[in-house]
């Protein structure tokens, strides 16, 4: 211990002797990244959201962009709907993904698990666009599923699945649920099997083991997964846009319209800021309730 401390002291001497060269080499690029790519852009987003262009093309400070949001029913309704759906999809992702994470870590053999992990990673890496497109091919009126069902005689005319809320939720779940599987797996991996065995020996029912031992143990992973899933879903554009119908408005679509169609960037900035507040608000709440730290979400 003593030696260690001395060593640290000499290190410190050496560092100061080098004018902290290494430290600056590390921190300067990181500062440039954080200041120019994260801090300034978000400050600019906030400032732009309070600007409005007058008839002369001059910008002035105003709350008009936000007032527009609260007075136009379609905007705040979409906002509320997006939030509600995102929470719903996050819950569904948990229900679907948890048994899979448990299966891969605790039930099946290591070799099987490695192979199934590979299958899990492929859709994740292929990217959302290709998989959303795959669902369009599957769910369309002339799509694979309808054709299959007609051929085997279960239905006579195609089911209307594509361009509905159903297809949108399928797309959102598909692209996000794997982000629930992976963090839950990493917490379950560190769980000692004897905890479950002990509970079983003491006569606990399967449901009790599940709700009183496994879930509490996996909670950090579940929170990380839920936060990432929620963020991906609420900020998603492709699934609502390509799979959703006319009534499946998503708040990100309003932002896209403002930036890419009507070119009302300041209103778009206000909507963007509201979305940012909504997502960070709900994430903050989730962290508070579960007693977790953001630092843990990353790992």
């Amino acid at each position: 211990m003593m030696n260690n401390k001395n060593l640290k002291d000499t290190n410190r001497l050496k560092i100061t002797g080098n004018f902290n060269f290494t430290f600056y080499l590390l921190i300067v690029p990181v500062l440039i990244w954080l200041i120019f790519m994260i801090v300034i852009p978000h400050a600019e987003l906030l400032i732009s959201s309070f600007l409005v262009e007058d008839d002369m093309g001059e910008m002035f400070f105003s709350f008009a962009n936000y007032i527009e949001f609260f007075t136009q029913k379609i905007y705040w309704l979409t906002f509320v709907k997006t939030a509600a759906y995102s929470i719903g999809v996050t819950l569904l992702a948990f229900i679907i993904a948890f048994p899979i994470a448990f299966y891969l870590t605790k039930v099946t053999s290591k070799k099987n698990a490695a192979f199934l992990m590979l299958l899990l990673l492929i859709p994740l890496w292929v990217g959302e666009l290709v998989t959303v497109y795959g669902w369009m091919v599957l769910l369309g009126d002339h799509g694979v599923i309808n054709q299959f069902l007609i051929t085997i005689g279960i239905i006579n005319k195609p089911l209307n699945m594509l361009y509905t809320n159903f297809s949108m939720v399928v797309g959102l779940l598909y692209m996000s649920m794997l982000f629930m599987v992976i963090p839950v797996m990493s917490t379950l991996q560190s769980m000692d099997d004897s905890l479950i065995e002990a509970a079983c020996d003491l006569g606990a029912s399967r449901w009790d083991i599940f709700t009183k031992i496994i879930i509490p143990y996996a909670m950090p992973g579940i929170t990380s997964g839920a936060i990432i899933v929620f963020m991906l879903v609420i900020g998603d554009y492709l699934a609502p846009n390509l799979l959703g119908g006319k009534n499946s408005l998503w708040f990100t679509e309003q932002i896209y319209n403002n930036f890419l169609t009507t070119f009302n960037w300041n209103e778009g900035a206000a909507f963007g800021f509201l979305l940012l507040m909504l997502s960070s608000g709900i994430i903050w709440l989730a962290l508070k309730v579960s007693g977790q730290k953001l630092e843990k979400v990353g790992s």
Binding site: E128, V130, G134, V137, A269, G272, L276, V297, G298, S299
Partner: protein, 284 residues
């Protein structure tokens, strides 16, 4: 319910069926487009009209295969080079950030670490629009003051790279940090006591230890860039990346070429995933 405990056969079979259904759900869209990429039809979906490789190689007026479609090839090249630059920048800065946050103590460390993690919880749309707004006002400012038109400050190839770098570095940092946490700090201290400078110790001792993680992070940054659309769509200039090109085709002119491109992506990614599996196995 776990390997070591007996459970009823009903439960076991039920569980297996669920897992099977899940993986069917997972692979169905990829299988469907892969098969339909070889369908001899002018529509993206069924019915099956026989096998063809037209959607890869044909160059007739009626059918233009993937390799004959210059626009598509151009967007693939754009995506590859964008991905390369994003991966290089993200790996460099992300690794520095990992070293900084794991090894150094300084004021405001907590705040900076929070900012470095922020892209993980900021929707990609928001990053896209805020970088677009900032670049545009910086560009306008420079144009009004100096009369210069800087391409970087307009939606362009380089702005896309910057935008994707802004979140790519976060993922690299997390991957490299995870390995750095397993690093035996006394190795670095040994180098220092042998009169290496701090920089030499990092370069000759720490970086070689981190190499597998750095290489893995490079691939992850490349894939993130290659598949990104949420941030990219706002920053794109005159040359679209592959996902942007595909997106506009899906919306306006779907042909089975889309299946062919998707098939190619699935094949390349599966190859990478298998290499990754074996690389991990040989590491252990």
């Amino acid at each position: 319910m776990i390997r070591s405990l007996p459970s009823s056969s009903l439960y076991r079979i039920g569980y297996r069926i669920y897992v099977f259904l899940f993986f069917t759900f997972l692979l169905m869209p990829l299988l469907a487009i892969s098969v339909l990429a070889f369908n001899d039809s002018n529509f993206i979906s069924l019915p099956w009209n026989g096998f063809t490789t037209d959607w890869f190689f044909a160059a007739t007026d009626e059918r233009q295969g993937l390799f004959a479609d210059e626009e598509l090839i151009a967007s693939i090249v754009t995506s590859l080079s964008t991905g390369f630059f994003v991966a290089v920048m993200s790996t460099l800065v992300g690794t520095l950030a990992a070293l900084l946050f794991e090894e150094e103590q300084f004021r405001l460390k907590g705040l900076l670490y929070f900012l470095a993690l922020a892209p993980l919880v900021i929707p990609g749309v928001i990053l896209g629009i805020s970088i677009l707004l900032t670049a545009t006002s910086a560009g306008n400012h420079i144009e009004n003051t100096f009369g210069l038109d800087v391409e970087l400050f307009r939606p362009s190839y380089w702005l896309v790279i910057l935008g994707q770098f802004s979140f790519g570095a976060t993922y690299v940092m997390l991957l490299v940090s995870a390995r750095l946490k397993k690093f035996d700090r006394t190795l670095e201290e040994a180098a220092l006591s042998l009169k290496a400078t701090r920089l030499e110790a990092i370069w000759y001792v720490t970086i070689p230890f981190l190499r597998p993680a750095i290489m893995g992070a490079f691939v992850v940054a490349f894939i993130l860039s290659f598949s990104n659309i949420n941030t990219t769509i706002f920053l794109i200039g005159s040359d679209p990346t592959l996902p942007i090109d595909l997106y506009s085709r899906i919306r306006f002119s779907s042909t089975p070429v889309l299946n062919a491109v998707s098939f190619l992506i699935v094949i390349v990614i599966s190859g990478l995933a298998i290499i990754n599996l074996f690389a991990n196995r040989s590491n252990k």
